[in-house]
């Protein structure tokens, strides 16, 4: 009974950490530009697929992983420079379509380059499961959770203790005011795309040894990351992390106790309920609009 519950909890938290990283990515870009980046899921896919490609090409694991984070970050910057910046101030719908276009291009290129097969990555430190109260925990899950925790701490430090981080935060509160005090807001936009692509890619890499990857995993992962971001109150960093974990856990519990074939529907049922009953998300603050 407890063992089963723990088992579901472990798998939920592991996947949830990936959603949390994706949700953080959404949050960063949303705060910097009010754009909901529908290409976020493709960065998760890129991370996993590139890690597989570079390790299979014979590169040592650390180098392969570094490249698999760096390249998506460059892709993120390209998307921002080539597609988002030229249409500054366009309608939300237009921006959404542009990011969807970007996601199709990324997915299509990977499909042409690496094919439609499903790939796996060897776990970073073996596959020997750890027994905890009758449930098993994969060492890779510890990697996922540990690295996610480190990233969250690093981001917290960045946003609260460094000038650059504070500049990004200031831009998200009030863009015009930030420009007035001399913050380079295009640099902020640039950074937020690079960072959120890198975060997504990192999540994709970490979870690939457990969930496998293929050219089309980005759609669902991205959408669930988006759900997590909204659950946490869109724009709220800590909320995004908690939202990600919550979505992951509920999905695993639902799949285990209710129906595994409806597993993918669970985050979306959750989002509808939250929009109905707690429209600002679980952790979103009150907001007022100026007329």
């Amino acid at each position: 009974m407890l063992a089963q519950f723990l088992q579901f909890l472990f798998s939920g938290v592991t996947v949830g950490a990936t959603y949390a990283l994706a949700a953080l990515g959404f949050t960063l870009i949303y705060n910097a530009s009010n754009v909901i980046n529908f290409a976020q899921g493709e960065f998760i896919m890129l991370g996993g697929m590139l890690a597989v490609y570079f390790t299979q090409a014979g590169l040592p694991l650390p180098v392969a992983l570094l490249l698999a984070i760096l390249i998506p970050a460059i892709v993120g910057i390209l998307v921002e420079k080539l597609a988002i910046e030229p249409v500054k101030g366009a309608e939300t719908v237009t921006l959404i379509i542009i990011t969807i276009g970007a996601s199709l291009v990324i997915r299509g290129l990977i499909q042409v380059w690496l094919g439609k097969n499903t790939f796996s990555l060897p776990a970073f430190s073996g596959d020997e499961p750890i027994q905890i109260l009758g449930a098993t925990l994969l060492p890779q899950s510890l990697w996922v959770l540990g690295v996610t925790a480190l990233v969250v701490i690093a981001l917290w430090y960045f946003f609260n203790r460094t000038l650059q981080g504070k500049a990004m935060l200031a831009t998200s509160y009030n863009r015009v005011a930030a420009e007035l005090v001399g913050i380079n807001t295009s640099w902020v936009l640039f950074m937020s795309f690079a960072m959120s692509a890198a975060l997504g890619a990192l999540g994709g890499i970490l979870v690939t040894p457990i969930t496998l990857t293929s050219y089309d995993v980005g759609i669902m992962l991205g959408l669930k990351g988006f759900v997590a971001a909204v659950v946490g109150g869109l724009g709220n960093g800590l909320g995004a992390v908690l939202g990600g974990l919550l979505v992951g856990i509920l999905e695993a519990m639902g799949a285990g106790y209710i129906s595994s074939s409806y597993k993918d529907a669970i985050p979306f049922v959750l989002i509808l309920l939250i929009l109905f009953f707690m429209p600002r998300g679980l952790f979103g603050g009150k907001s007022t609009d100026r007329v």
Binding site: E91, V93, T94, A102, V105, G108, S261, F268, L272, L275
Partner: protein
């Protein structure tokens, strides 16, 4: 202005009358029929996106309700296709209304999120309830008959769909010029201002959303009967995106833009089929380029360029 409001409609009707006599073969007739079906859906969706300034990322879900109502109810329960079609539209209306009411009390693009969720849930349900829907493989749809007359050939379907399209264009033009349409446009301009002059913002938004959802459901039923087969792809997220794209590429808040968007994007996959494997890349690139260089969409951009207002 008033005088040539219908000019475009006459042109559309004229084209529709001539088309079946100039299309070279049944392949192109089929393409034209699918363009016209999409055009009707896009007209409805454009009322929501272009005039109410709201976006739905789950319209294919409503299309799916209509399509599967027309497939499941006559097959498993022996309902008359027309009744089944009406039932699908009714279920869609109720569902859309239920979802929209709480959502529209919020500001921002939460409708996008809610419709996205709803669409995905519907699609997952269709894929999983295989005993009713045939699951991922889909199921055949009985033919549509009315007063002992059976709609079977593509030619017959063409005239039905052409009529539906003409009526939809006419209705959209009138709607935009009605008090209801003016309220909608005010809403897109400034929600607060329209509230101040007494527009019941939530009610109008719900009404337009329900209407566009019902358009989609009805055309879903038409698609199901015309093709004779339904699959869950009809109701998936990518199809929802395609529909929104048709609106945005053609031109938001433009009736004729809707038609242009539907025609172009229905033809695009056929045209791209020659790119073998590169279709997704090509489709994505075209989307981005259109939006970067013509963020207002084709028809409004061209209209502005040649100095004709709207």
């Amino acid at each position: 202005m008033k005088k040539n409001v219908y000019l475009g409609l006459y042109i559309v009707v004229a084209i529709l009358l001539v088309l079946p006599f100039v299309v070279p073969n049944s392949f192109y007739l089929d393409l034209v029929i699918r363009m016209a079906i999409n055009a009707v859906i896009v007209l409805g969706l454009n009322l929501l996106i272009g005039f109410a300034g709201q976006i739905s990322l789950g319209h294919a879900g409503f299309l799916g309700i209509g399509a599967y109502a027309s497939a499941v109810l006559p097959t498993h329960f022996g309902w008359h296709p027309v009744v089944a079609m009406g039932a699908g539209a009714l279920v869609t209306a109720v569902l859309a209304g239920l979802v929209a009411r709480p959502i529209f009390k919020l500001k921002g693009h939460y409708l996008a999120m809610a419709t996205l969720g709803l669409g995905i849930i519907l699609n997952i349900a269709i894929r999983n309830e295989a005993q009713w829907t045939g699951g991922p493989d889909g199921m055949p749809v009985p033919t549509m008959g009315l007063f002992g007359f059976e709609l079977a050939s593509d030619k017959q379907w063409y005239w039905v769909v052409a009529l539906l399209l003409s009526v939809s264009v006419w209705a959209s033009l009138n709607l935009i010029d009605s008090p209801f349409g003016r309220a909608l446009r005010a809403l897109h301009g400034s929600e607060v201002a329209s509230q101040v002059v007494g527009v019941d913002v939530v009610r109008y938004k719900v009404a337009i959303f329900v209407m566009s959802a019902v358009f989609a459901s009805l055309m879903g039923s038409v698609t199901a009967h015309y093709v004779g087969f339904v699959t869950p792809n009809l109701a998936d997220f990518f199809h929802s995106i395609e529909l929104v794209t048709m609106v945005v590429i053609g031109g938001m808040a433009s009736v004729y833009g809707s038609l242009v968007g539907a025609v172009l994007l229905t033809a695009l996959p056929q045209a791209l089929a020659t790119f073998e494997g590169w279709e997704t890349v090509a489709f994505g690139s075209i989307l981005m380029l259109c939006m970067i260089f013509m963020p207002k969409g084709l028809v409004p951009t061209l209209a502005a360029k040649f100095g004709k207002g709207d």
